[in-house]
């Protein structure tokens, strides 16, 4: 019965939604401290390649390699974050976009390690590893009324969902604390924040590195979800796509990223009936949205109203 409903195709779309939510959050976190970083695709690539290479060459367990990939992305985030401190707004966006390209070109040209633009194949899939694990402890998918490949995707969805929920929990709690107040104050007025006793260097690098870590984690999970990666997965295109998730959903509130990533991952799938024209619809929708609601679909004021507080949107 359950088996009938669990179409592997739907489950795979769900996996991509969850990974894209992580990627949207990787932009949201630095943005909440006023830094528009487009480096997410680059950090995602670092996480993906690191984890993939470690599993292919050293056969380490996936939970180790995924974590190493994310941590490496986080550390590189700190290294990139410090010189980027002098940059704000669109200049930071351009610099981080440049960083992403450097990483991509590195993947293309470091052929001995990355196999160049051909990409890496045969990356162990997280779902299959979970299936192996389940079988080793004596759980047969058939006992749950599932086919093997349904189990593979279902377990993957569950693992990704847990990770996404954890990140959301972490970010939301952080936001409602001393750290989150420091981030927002830097976003709204850096100079005033500094004279309120906030070490802006520390918090900006922290936010940047957190974004890089989340992107690296998403990248590693991406590699082990599809099992094949190439440098073009982490190109400029991807960086812009991730940005659109956040901007479309509304970059003022965390739920905007979740919403944007979900809708925009589903949309091309739903629009399959118009086949080749679907990206035209996608584009038109974005243009309309930016004209009508530049702050994104969900914003802070909507959020407060939903919580039952009466607040009007100001002039600014």
């Amino acid at each position: 019965m359950l088996g009938e409903l669990l179409n592997p195709y739907y489950l795979q779309v769900l996996c991509f939604i969850l990974i894209n939510i992580m990627l949207a959050l990787s932009i949201y976190v630095p943005l909440s401290s006023g830094q528009l970083s487009l480096g997410s695709a680059g950090f995602m690539g670092i996480g993906a390649y690191t984890s993939a290479l470690l599993t292919i060459h050293y056969e380490l367990p996936l939970y180790v390699t995924i974590l190493v990939g994310a941590l490496l992305a986080g550390v590189i985030g700190i290294i990139v974050g410090i010189p980027s401190l002098r940059l704000t707004g669109v200049y930071l966006a351009i610099a981080t976009l440049g960083f992403g390209e450097v990483i991509r070109v590195l993947f293309v040209n470091w052929e001995s390690l990355t196999k160049g633009s051909v990409g890496l194949t045969g990356i162990p899939q997280l779902g299959r590893e979970l299936l192996k694990f389940a079988k080793s402890i004596g759980i047969e998918p058939s006992a749950l009324g599932l086919k093997n490949n349904q189990f593979v995707y279902l377990s993957l969805v569950i693992v990704l969902l847990i990770i996404v929920l954890f990140i959301l929990w972490f970010v939301i709690r952080q936001q409602n604390s001393r750290i989150g107040r420091a981030y927002s104050s830097i976003q709204m007025d850096e100079k005033a924040a500094e004279s309120m006793g906030i070490n802006i260097t520390y918090y900006k690098v922290l936010a940047f590195a957190q974004g890089a870590f989340i992107a690296g984690l998403a990248g590693a999970l991406f590699a082990h979800t599809i099992g094949y990666i190439s440098p073009s997965d982490f190109s400029y295109h991807r960086a812009v796509e991730i940005l659109i998730f956040t901007v479309f959903g509304g970059s003022e509130v965390i739920i905007g990223s979740v919403f944007g990533a979900t809708i925009l991952t589903l949309l091309p799938e739903v629009l399959r009936f118009v086949s080749d024209y679907r990206y035209i619809f996608y584009g038109i929708m974005l243009v309309i949205l930016m004209a009508v609601r530049p702050q994104g679909i969900l914003d802070l004021y909507l959020f407060y109203r939903l919580k039952g507080k009466r607040i009007k949107r100001g002039t600014s």
Binding site: A192, M196, G197, S316
Partner: protein, 257 residues
């Protein structure tokens, strides 16, 4: 002695904004800094908080040299300021704005904030209570959940004072707090600053409203074109010929015009 400003000079390119300025502020005083527009008053504030670094000279706070410290470190030491052109965090509520001011008085890092340890919850609760008290003090208790950008001008000015007070300063710098206020609001501001003084906080104030300055301040320094013109009690300043000529006389002409 709370603050000692010693031979401060600030040059921006070829322009000398401050020329060899010295003055000292005693514990518990309300000290006025006045002078015509462009005299270098706000630059003096920026030098004290090290938002701009003085070209020459030194500043001591409670005997400790603070000239090279980062602005956030200076706030930690106990100096906090407001801005001439209001710089609140517009899309934060009044309460959140004040709580940001208390940043340096609590300590939770990422880990403690996310786990919400007992000590973190405790310090958040205390900060919230204190911030609400400060909002009451400046008369914004009812408006604590409003976004700062939706407050009226005079309310925003008072919110900035509450935010600065949340950092537990021993020296509060107020940059034209009465600008744009009507008479009633100015009177309320007078009472508020007196209350702040009675809390044991030393106040350094830049203000153009002469009647307020003369009523409020214990001592005053007058700046003109980056130079110190006079220093003394309000009575002395009012009777100082150089000041009358450079500043008060000019103010009267403006009033007639």
């Amino acid at each position: 002695m709370v603050l000692e400003v010693k031979n401060i000079t600030k040059r921006f390119g070829g322009i000398t904004a401050l020329k060899n300025i010295s003055f000292t502020i005693q514990q518990g005083e309300i000290y006025g800094l006045i002078g015509p527009n462009g005299a270098g008053k706000t630059t003096m504030f920026n030098c004290i908080t090290n938002i701009v670094e003085p070209t020459e000279g030194e500043i001591f706070f409670n005997g400790e040299k603070i000239t090279k410290l980062k602005p956030y470190k200076i706030t930690e030491k106990g100096i906090c300021r407001t801005y001439q052109n209001i710089r609140l965090f517009p899309q934060m509520t009044a309460l959140q704005n004040v709580m940001v001011g208390g940043h340096s008085r609590i300590s939770a890092g990422v880990f403690r904030s996310v786990i919400r340890t007992k000590s973190q919850k405790q310090e958040e609760k205390l900060l919230k209570e204190k911030s609400e008290e400060l909002l009451e003090l400046v008369g914004l208790g009812q408006l604590k959940d409003q976004f700062a950008e939706n407050l009226a001008y005079g309310q925003q000015r008072r919110l900035e004072i509450a935010r600065a007070l949340a950092s537990n300063p021993t020296l509060l710098l107020l940059d034209e707090p009465a600008a744009g206020m009507n008479e009633t609001e100015t009177d309320n501001l007078f009472d508020l600053i007196k209350k702040i003084q009675s809390m044991g906080i030393t106040v350094l104030i830049i203000e153009h409203d002469m009647s307020l300055v003369m009523r409020l301040c214990d001592r005053i320094t007058v700046l003109n074109f980056g130079e110190k013109l006079a220093e003394g009690t309000p009575d002395e300043i009012q009777n100082n010929e150089a000041v009358i000529e450079a500043y008060l006389g000019k103010e009267e002409e403006e009033t007639i015009a």
